[in-house]
């Protein structure tokens, strides 16, 4: 018996739980010569503003133990060129297109969402609420509960597309942001984006990235991301798309057991652009081996070991 891998996200049903993470897969079309994009659960394209953006001066990445920092600065062609130049090709390739949308202001988010809602071939919007240059006095939407609620509500009103706010891990309690997003009408949430981090060249004493700081991704962050997905699963009912250091079917399954309905693979695609069938088929065989009828039946099934002490408090206590 072949297990049912489909995942529902609002009105959308995706073929399997494995999605390419935004910013780690270009606009998708770059990988069409290597991978059949229609075999992925979805393709989350590079974050898009209304206008073209240049991004930061290189160096934009640096490796760290079991991870990497990036400060790309959301270089992008802008939503209009995306719709005109990339979307038709993605449609032709049969990709389930999830567009990661950004804004410097609430109005920009809404406008980007509108443009994409009017286009053909967008399956869902992933709301990147950790973007630079936000109105609100520099405080990101994604780091304030009120800001999160406002931007999700505003975009919700502007689109009927499935709406997936993407949460930052750089907050005390990501699950409260998950709840805020759910209350504001999100169809699902995705997490985690990268961890704010820094690396310094000790010879020059300059930050290794031109931008100073960057976001940490890759296997290093996986256990923190799994914890956050688990915490969010305790408080929201909507689907969760989990990510952070997933590099194998086993890692994806761990996120699903923690509470993710679907997963995204980012950094691992850099190392291994042919990872996709291995993750998808690995989930299938795991489900078969464990006699689990559908991917959905795995979600959030972490067994409990007597948690005698509040986990959060205890864990950081050494």
């Amino acid at each position: 018996m072949t297990p049912d891998l489909t995942v529902r996200i609002g009105a959308l049903t995706i073929a399997n739980p494995v999605i390419a993470a935004s910013g780690c897969f270009g606009y998708g079309v770059e990988y069409a010569s290597a991978i059949d994009l229609s075999t992925l659960g979805g393709v989350a394209v590079k974050g898009l503003f209304l206008q073209e953006r240049d991004g930061h001066a290189p160096p934009r990445i640096v490796e760290t133990p079991a991870g990497m920092l990036n400060a790309i600065g959301l270089q992008g062609i802008g939503v209009h060129r995306f719709v005109g130049e990339k979307l038709p090709e993605l449609r032709a390739l049969g990709a389930t297109v999830i567009v990661n949308i950004c804004g410097s202001t609430l109005d920009e988010y809404v406008e980007v969402a509108r443009v994409l809602s009017d286009a053909e071939g967008v399956a869902a919007l992933e709301l990147n609420i950790s973007c630079p240059n936000i109105k609100e006095g520099g405080i990101q939407f994604g780091c304030s509960l009120g800001g999160t609620h406002d931007v999700v509500s505003a975009v919700r009103k502007a689109t009927t597309l499935p709406l997936i706010p993407k949460l930052t891990p750089n907050v005390t309690d990501p699950s409260s942001f998950a709840r805020a997003a759910e209350e504001a009408g999100a169809d699902a949430i995705s997490l985690v984006n990268t961890f704010l981090a820094m690396a310094i060249d000790i010879e020059t004493r300059l930050p290794k990235l031109t931008n100073g700081m960057g976001g940490l991704s890759g296997p290093a962050i996986r256990p923190i991301a799994v914890r956050m997905v688990y915490e969010c699963r305790q408080v929201v009912k909507i689907p969760i798309i989990g990510m952070g250091g997933i590099a194998s079917a086993e890692d994806a399954i761990e996120f699903m057991i923690a509470g993710a309905n679907a997963v995204q693979v980012g950094t691992a695609n850099f190392t291994d652009p042919f990872i996709w069938p291995r993750v998808i088929d690995g989930i299938t065989s795991y489900l078969q081996r464990h006699n689990i009828a559908s991917a959905a039946d795995l979600v959030g099934t972490v067994a409990s070991r007597k948690p005698s002490v509040p986990a959060k408090a205890a864990a950081t206590s050494g």
């Binding site: 010569s33 290189p58 160096p59 133990p65 990036n70």
Partner: protein, 271 residues
């Protein structure tokens, strides 16, 4: 269409205390490669650290007795973790090799082709020289290094019909000084069409590009930026190039590594 091959190391030829040529078995990549293309290698083998692959020019295509491509070599210079792993790679070890990647060199439509290499920048030129020979394009190789002992593999080029011009900073072989010395002299004497192809340290490439501009010759550079993915996924490898309306960051892995030297905004290169 790039392939990801678990490539067996066939030979590791040490050229010096920091240079080696590594030969791997990778028929799918070898068969598809064009001159100047590169591969991304997981230098630690699958699953090891460092996490990210490292880019290397395809140095030679290895063929069996019947001429069928079976593998490729890279010329490597030890500068950090990944290149040290390549230097230390054991025969029969398996390294994930992804490729061929990037825009290849295109032989000139007319006239001569002059290659200008500095150090490990020799990487893309054997395959180019082969192509030039097949296309009957007259070619020269200008090849510079610090000292004679660092001029590796120059002997590969004479059989490919390339005329050799060498320079060493200490004068131990060829001209004393930078390779731009003999290049400048040659440019001063050149009559017909010349296209320059260059790869090496950025200051050298920049000087070569400036000479080409001064002598009004086409110049193509192969840039070596830090690359996260090699396939256009991450936007880490960008180079600023002049475009009709304004300069823009473009991905050197898929829009390069080969660029028209005149379009590159040299001041904004990361390396």
């Amino acid at each position: 269409m790039p392939a990801d091959v678990d490539a067996r190391v066939v030979e590791n030829r040490r050229l010096s205390s920091d240079y080696n040529v590594l030969v791997v078995h990778a028929p799918a990549i070898a068969a598809a490669a064009a001159p100047g293309q590169f591969v991304m290698i997981r230098t630690a083998g699958a699953g090891g650290a460092p996490l990210l692959r490292r880019p290397f020019s395809i140095f030679q295509i290895v063929r069996d007795a019947g001429g069928t491509p079976t593998g490729l070599s890279i010329i490597n210079k030890k500068i950090g973790t990944g290149t040290s792993q390549i230097y230390d790679a054991r025969v029969d070890a398996t390294l994930p090799v992804l490729g061929p990647l990037g825009r290849p060199f295109v032989p000139p439509a007319s006239g001569d082709a002059w290659m200008v290499a500095g150090g490990v920048g020799l990487g893309p030129f054997v395959t180019l020289a082969e192509t030039l020979q097949r296309a009957a394009v007259p070619s020269k190789l200008f090849y510079g290094a610090r000292t004679a002992a660092d001029l590796h593999c120059a002997d590969l080029f004479a059989p490919l019909g390339a005329e050799l011009h060498l320079a060493t900073e200490d004068g131990s072989t060829g001209d004393r000084g930078f390779i731009t010395g003999p290049l400048e002299r040659a440019l001063g004497q050149a009559r017909g069409d010349v296209t320059i192809y260059t790869c090496g340290p950025t200051p050298m490439m920049r000087a070569v590009a400036a000479l080409a501009a001064r002598f009004n010759r086409a110049c193509v550079v192969s840039l070596e930026q830090v690359m996260g993915c090699g396939m256009g996924g991450c936007y880490s490898c960008v180079v600023k190039v002049r475009q009709p309306d304004r300069p823009r960051f473009v991905r050197s892995c898929i829009d390069g590594p080969v660029f028209d030297a005149a379009s590159v905004v040299w001041e904004e290169l990361a390396h």
